[in-house]
């Protein structure tokens, strides 16, 4: 019994150290924290600096899961299955003006973004059902547009899922990148 005492004392010490860190019933920081991206890039900063040269077009609010050594596409995210393209709350895309995706007019407003990933091509889905969790209540009747986009390979792995807008010749692209791939959702206006 004596032999085991140091073990018990240290175990208790560790246990209370862990408890002390939690210490509260407030919600903890998400493992996949949310983030926001605007077009124009860094619009909120430009706004307070009076440096806005073009009007607000779009923003995306999404959670950023990490790779953490896992194979993401074809592994964690199965090919051919619906994916929430983020974590936690469904990924939200908002257009501040009417835009076109794949030739179809998309009215300004808030939408949810989903994807179906495959090795060489992703289907990106803009859906009208907002304020929902993940892709668990996905209803294809509420799809606004679906578009197939090619997968581009990255040379370096991307640890955290990332989304951002970049200018294109006909509007903007929403670039979505994680692990070794990236795709772009073309938005025209």
């Amino acid at each position: 019994m004596k032999k085991i005492i140091p073990f018990i004392v240290l175990f208790q010490f560790c246990f209370f150290a862990v408890l002390a860190q939690q210490g509260s019933n407030m919600p903890a920081l998400d493992k996949s924290p949310a983030d926001i991206s605007y077009y124009p890039f860094n619009y909120p900063v430009l706004k307070i600096q009076d440096k806005i040269t073009e009007p607000l077009v779009a923003r995306v609010i999404y959670s950023r899961p990490k790779k953490e050594g896992r194979t993401i596409f074809g592994g964690l995210v199965e090919y051919g299955k619906l994916w929430r393209m983020g974590a936690n709350e469904a990924t939200e895309i908002e257009f501040f003006k009417h835009v076109k995706i794949n030739g179809k007019k998309i009215s300004k407003g808030r939408y949810t973004l989903y994807g179906i990933v495959n090795e060489n091509m992703w289907t990106l889905i803009v859906n009208k059902e907002t304020d929902t969790w993940g892709s668990f209540k996905y209803d294809s009747k509420k799809d606004v547009i679906r578009i197939d986009v090619p997968v581009q390979k990255l040379t370096e792995p991307q640890e955290s899922l990332v989304m951002f807008f970049e200018k294109s010749t006909t509007g903007i692209n929403l670039v979505i990148a994680w692990d070794m791939v990236k795709v772009a959702l073309p938005v025209n206006f």
């Binding site: 560790c14 860190q21 919600p27 924290p33 983030d35 900063v45 709350e89 304020d131 640890e159 955290s160």
Partner: protein, 212 residues
């Protein structure tokens, strides 16, 4: 056997130590930062060529609480009432007053982009009706009372405020708690007439009451 006991204990100590360091964040690439979002401790090297995960990660809170989960599980059919989208700075060894914040100086109630309040339907706060819509929030903290400001300058960076776009200002009392919160936290708490928006950080918490 005695040696084994000590060895196991030591392994456990190391394990608990490493647990406390599992939530490392990469430094922010956003162009403006200040005390409420600047990294203090040594950070991991930037490995993300597009947009590093922010040192003050964003989060959102809905009312009804966890609305998206309720929607997913088909336990609600009505629209949500409110949501905040905010960034979560952390203390990193500092004190809130006067380490991160100072009395009398406006604070964005978060970090990075201005904290956003979305009302899906109109609400009443301290007898004032706030129409449905998107707003930003900031506060002016003093020792026992915080002034919470609802402002219409949406999609702005939180570092400076344009008070000409204030919609309403509310004074709310401050409570000191025994527990300390590492990360700034905003959640809605259900009340008899609506919800309180709880804002808590370090050993300070304050509530803005909404009636729906």
């Amino acid at each position: 056997m005695k040696k084994v006991g000590w060895l196991v204990g030591l392994i456990l100590v190391c394990f608990s130590f490493s647990c406390s360091h599992t939530k490392k964040e990469e430094p922010s690439t956003k162009v403006i930062s200040t005390k409420d979002s600047s990294p203090v401790s040594t950070q991991e090297p930037v490995t993300n060529p597009y947009a590093a995960v922010d040192v003050s990660p964003m989060d959102m809170s809905y009312f009804p609480v966890d609305y998206p989960k309720l929607k997913m599980s088909h336990t609600t059919t009505i629209p949500p009432l409110a949501r905040v989208v905010y960034s979560r700075p952390h203390l990193q060894g500092r004190k809130l007053f006067h380490g991160v914040l100072k009395y009398g100086e406006p604070w964005r109630l978060g970090a990075n982009e201005a904290t956003e309040l979305q009302l899906y339907k109109s609400a009443v706060i301290q007898n004032k009706k706030i129409p449905a819509g998107r707003y930003i929030l900031y506060c002016i903290p003093i020792e026992n009372t915080w002034t919470i400001v609802i402002n219409s300058n949406i999609d702005s960076w939180g570092l400076t405020q344009d008070s000409t776009k204030d919609i309403a200002r509310f004074e709310v009392p401050v409570k000191t708690t025994s527990a300390r919160l590492e990360f700034f936290t905003m959640i809605f708490e259900k009340t008899e007439t609506g919800a309180d928006l709880l804002m808590a950080w370090d050993n300070i918490e304050t509530r803005l009451p909404f009636t729906f």
